[in-house]
Assembly symmetry: C2
Homo-oligomer: 277 residues x 2
């Protein structure tokens, strides 16, 4: 049935009611031998224990989500806290033997402007990418959908993410998430420009009726995104890493049992992204 063997499960695809190891086991059962946790997922049992549990199962950690404190770090104290958090995240990624850390950079911040937030996000990248590079961790700049520009990530186009990678090239790349980029009229041009800098590929669908700005993503196939086209653009860059499912869906998929979510995710990825391979 499948022609996609390299599947990654972003742990935020399943509800917060499930435990870390429970999700790892369910993932393995459904063909996800690679996972991408958010920090709260491994903090629940401690990063050391999380690393032990993944290793014990032969589960690979792909990316760690996420560093996003710099955008809203308006004061010096906020900046220091953001930097400390970023350093801690890099250490955690090392402990987990992860490949990369996702870097949306953060939103605009109260009382600030988008221009200033973007400067802070670039400054933060310039500070942490060398630290991460030194310990073998990639920093993947991820453009988020413009719906969350204010509160979650002021880098909102692939083109602009590449501008950041141009400025800080060593140890950086971009993560392409279908949900975040599908709307962009310049997607094709930006993918061509990105080339081998595409080092992450996540999928979820945009629902015609969206009820929450961050946590109402659709399962692949339930929305309006043309996955064939995006898969083809990603393939065109030469990207050969995992396809990661990441469906932030508080009211729908997070409320379902693990088997339903994971079997559906796997089947949908194959149906909507498989043949192009």
């Amino acid at each position: 049935m499948t022609n996609i063997e390299n599947l990654c499960l972003n742990l935020a695809t399943v509800g917060p009611q499930f435990g870390f190891t429970e999700v790892l086991d369910a993932g393995l059962k459904h063909g996800f031998s690679t996972v991408s946790p958010w920090r709260h997922h491994y903090e629940a049992i401690g990063v050391g224990a999380a690393a032990k549990e993944t290793r014990a199962r032969g589960v690979k950690v792909d990316t760690v989500c996420r560093i996003s404190g710099f955008g809203p770090a308006v004061s010096g104290a906020q900046w220091s806290a953001a930097l400390d958090e970023a350093k801690a995240t890099i250490e955690e990624a090392v402990t987990l033997e992860a490949r990369a850390i996702i870097y949306p950079g953060g939103g605009v911040g109260e009382g600030s402007t988008i221009e200033d937030a973007r400067k802070r996000i670039l400054d933060g990248l310039a500070q942490i990418a060398p630290m991460a590079h030194e310990v073998g961790i990639l920093i993947l700049v991820e453009p988020l959908h413009p719906v969350v520009t204010a509160d979650r990530g002021a880098i909102n186009t692939l083109g602009f993410a590449l501008d950041l990678c141009d400025a800080v090239s060593e140890g950086t790349g971009v993560a392409v998430d279908s949900y975040n980029v599908w709307w962009d009229p310049q997607l094709e041009a930006s993918m061509a420009r990105a080339g081998t800098r595409v080092k992450g590929f996540q999928v979820s669908d945009w629902l015609m009726t969206t009820r929450h700005t961050a946590f109402d993503r659709g399962m692949v196939g339930d929305g309006v995104i043309d996955f064939r086209r995006i898969r083809s653009l990603v393939d065109g860059t030469g990207y050969a890493g995992p396809i990661e499912i990441e469906v932030l869906s508080e009211k729908d998929w997070w409320a379902r049992d693990l088997d339903t979510v994971l079997s559906t995710a796997r089947a949908r990825i194959n149906l909507h992204l498989g043949e192009a391979q």
Copy 2:
């Protein structure tokens, strides 16, 4: 107190509980001698009566909102209906002695792709712009925020709106709405490219916490948008038309009385957009 005399009230800034003439009178009281209705606003009393009421008060109709049937017009029958509706809107704009019609073009449509929807939106523009031009009505392509790309408007950047105007130049221009463009990393470049094609300027704010994808806009000053910067970019194009307030806000501003909404709108425009003039 004010240094902005050319204010326009988009009628969707006040709740649907108020009658057409009631809003006109309140608008005049607060310095809005120009209005932009949506179709349902004048359909409630009939377009002929609406034209009579505006003329009787010396109120000018600026733009009519909106033509957006082509994007989702997947079938031939839907296309005919969209075209009929567009023709009717042009006739109504003539009756109202309006300056222009807003053209977001529409969303993606069920079962379609964004690429196909955009082709339909361009085809629709090519069909109706000449008809409108012949009767002295401008068609203003308006990029909407990417949050409503799927369901309301698949043209979502100023740059892409200008591509449409390049393709259909006679009788077209663009409308710049702060809410729709504030996030765009290419805003400055696109405004420079637009030049005198900027023929509409609307304002509302993006709230840090947004609870609805279409109807939770903020009053100018309540959100994260840097209005000084956008005003300066608009001024740079040579635009000298009205500044139009359009706050779609179902739970907040639509629930307030006319005097509160209109006095606040006027004061906020002066505070946040005034000094740059």
